[in-house]
């Protein structure tokens, strides 16, 4: 899977959790999920579960801690595929 394909799928996952005042176009590789996109910390748990389902991978505690920015998530996923 190309990085672009991963990012596209990641965008589909992340956009669901955006607060109502943040638009989809704000999602950039360097965006911090909580600080820049305003995603509720409780929802990071759900994003991880969605990522697992979408890419058919398992993420451990360490992977979750690494996933601060969108690009971090891309890297974590790439390493698992």
């Amino acid at each position: 899977m190309t990085t672009q394909e991963i990012n596209q799928k990641l965008l589909e996952i992340v956009k669901v959790y955006l607060p109502q005042d943040v638009t989809e176009s704000s999602i950039k590789p360097e965006s911090h999920l909580m600080q820049d996109l305003g995603i509720n910390s409780a929802h990071l748990v759900d994003i991880v579960l969605d990522v697992e389902d979408t890419f058919d991978i398992m993420l451990d505690e360490n992977d979750m801690q690494q996933m601060q920015r969108v690009e971090d998530a891309t890297t974590v996923i790439q390493n698992k595929l």
Binding site: Y17, Q20, H43, V45, D46
Partner: protein, 425 residues
């Protein structure tokens, strides 16, 4: 603040088996339209009673009240009914709904018996499969009892007292009185009060097992719930939510709000499971004491009660309840007030029953009409021995209503009685 402050009802919301808005609920109660249906799910699970009342929520209505994100993994039906009824009631009250500002002087007491039975079942399966992490972030909010009041507070920016009460089938009427006391004591300007109950086999199953539900009406569901009737043979389980906005008269007048009725007061007590009372049966003397004290607290004379909206669940205890009303009010025969029960058309909505029926009771005061009872083939002889049969109306009665008494009784021998009056400045 003044202890003399008056408390009025300025907003109504309802999610009932036979209607999803207060306007439709008024029409349904006026015409005796039943929301009770045969439930395929219960048949497949081999329930003895396969009739139940479930609000007919469409995806369109759900989309109006919940974002796509909120809908993900949302299985707590009672919570959904509660949130919808509260948003309806708040919007109906006209209190700054759109701006979503912070209302530090408005709170919410929203009761339930339990929360999110279906969500809890899903969680149990994940946990038993050694997969606790799959619970995600939504399990707690949906299964904690106070999930519904927390959710409502967050949707509407309510910053005063936010809590959930629980007292079985008296929950809704109890919530009203808790909110009333909060305002009366000067600690809040307004309170949303209400209650909700889940739909489905996991909430209704226990009652089926107790053999207290009707089993002979699976092929004629609209006839299954027969309050006051000689052939009443058990209550039909229901579900839904009701919500009322209470506020000080001063606040309501200053905003030129529609005032549907005034809450005069009420009382809560328990029979202590003594004197014939048990976990499931009421102590009659305590029921009478609850009604009498509610009148005293409300400064309403029993002669001013023109309508009773009873608990009357359609069991062999209906006659006992009528006798208790008669003794408490010291009125009988033709002198007895009109009495009705909405359970013939909506079933017994358990923890939600009190608040849904309070919405209906308030609508009776607002429209000055007594809604009819349906499914009475013949009044129970115990009832006819105490009151005139015309006092149990079978058709809508347009009449001047001074005050209405609403009671709810619950498992645990707990009683709640509220007195509402037609508003007079």
């Amino acid at each position: 603040m003044s202890k003399d402050r008056r408390v009025v009802i300025t907003g109504l919301g309802v999610v009932a088996p036979n209607a999803i808005t207060m306007h439709d609920f008024h029409k349904a109660l006026l015409t005796g339209t039943s929301g009770l249906k045969h439930q395929k799910e219960l048949e497949e699970l081999q329930f003895k009673c396969q009739v139940a009342g479930k609000p007919q929520l469409t995806q369109e209505i759900i989309d109006q009240h919940f974002t796509a994100l909120q809908q993900r993994g949302l299985l707590a039906t009672g919570l959904m009914y509660g949130v919808i009824s509260a948003k309806q009631a708040f919007e109906n009250s006209g209190i700054d709904f759109k701006n979503k500002s912070y209302h530090e002087d408005i709170g919410v007491v929203f009761g339930t018996g339990q929360s999110g039975g279906d969500k809890f079942r899903e969680a149990i399966h994940h946990i038993d499969d050694n997969d606790v992490r799959r619970l995600g972030s939504t399990s707690v909010i949906q299964t904690m009892s106070s999930g519904v009041s927390a959710w409502i507070s967050g949707e509407l920016g309510l910053g005063n007292w936010v809590t959930t009460n629980s007292s079985a089938c008296s929950t809704g009427t109890e919530a009203l009185l808790m909110g009333y006391d909060r305002i009366k004591s000067g600690k809040a300007r307004g309170m949303l009060v209400g209650s909700c109950s889940d739909s489905g086999p996991y909430i209704w199953g226990g009652f089926d097992a107790m053999r207290i539900l009707p089993t002979k009406y699976n092929d004629k569901p609209e006839m299954a719930s027969r309050p006051f009737s000689h052939d009443a043979c058990g209550f039909v389980p229901g579900s839904g939510a009701g919500c009322l906005v209470l506020e000080t008269l001063e606040s309501a007048l200053s905003r030129k709000a529609t005032i549907y009725a005034e809450v005069k007061g009420g009382h809560l007590n328990s029979g202590g499971q003594t004197n014939g009372g048990s976990m499931t049966a009421p102590n009659g003397l305590a029921v009478q004491a609850c009604i009498k004290t509610a009148l005293i607290e409300s400064k309403i004379d029993s002669s001013q009660i023109d309508v009773i909206n009873g608990h009357i669940t359609a069991t062999s205890k209906d006659g006992f309840e009528v006798k208790n009303w008669s003794a408490a009010l010291n009125r009988s025969g033709k002198d007895f007030p009109f009495i009705n029960s909405f359970k013939s058309t909506i079933g017994h909505c358990l923890a939600a029953s009190g608040s849904i029926e309070l919405v209906g009771s308030t609508l009776q005061l607002h429209h000055q009409v007594v809604y009819p009872n349906i499914n009475i083939s013949q009044l129970h002889p115990e009832i006819v021995s105490v009151i005139d049969k015309e006092k149990v109306p079978l058709k809508p009665i347009k009449t001047k209503i001074h005050s209405l008494a609403k009671a709810s009784f619950g498992f645990g021998d707990v009683n709640a009685c509220a007195i509402l009056s037609t508003f007079k400045p």
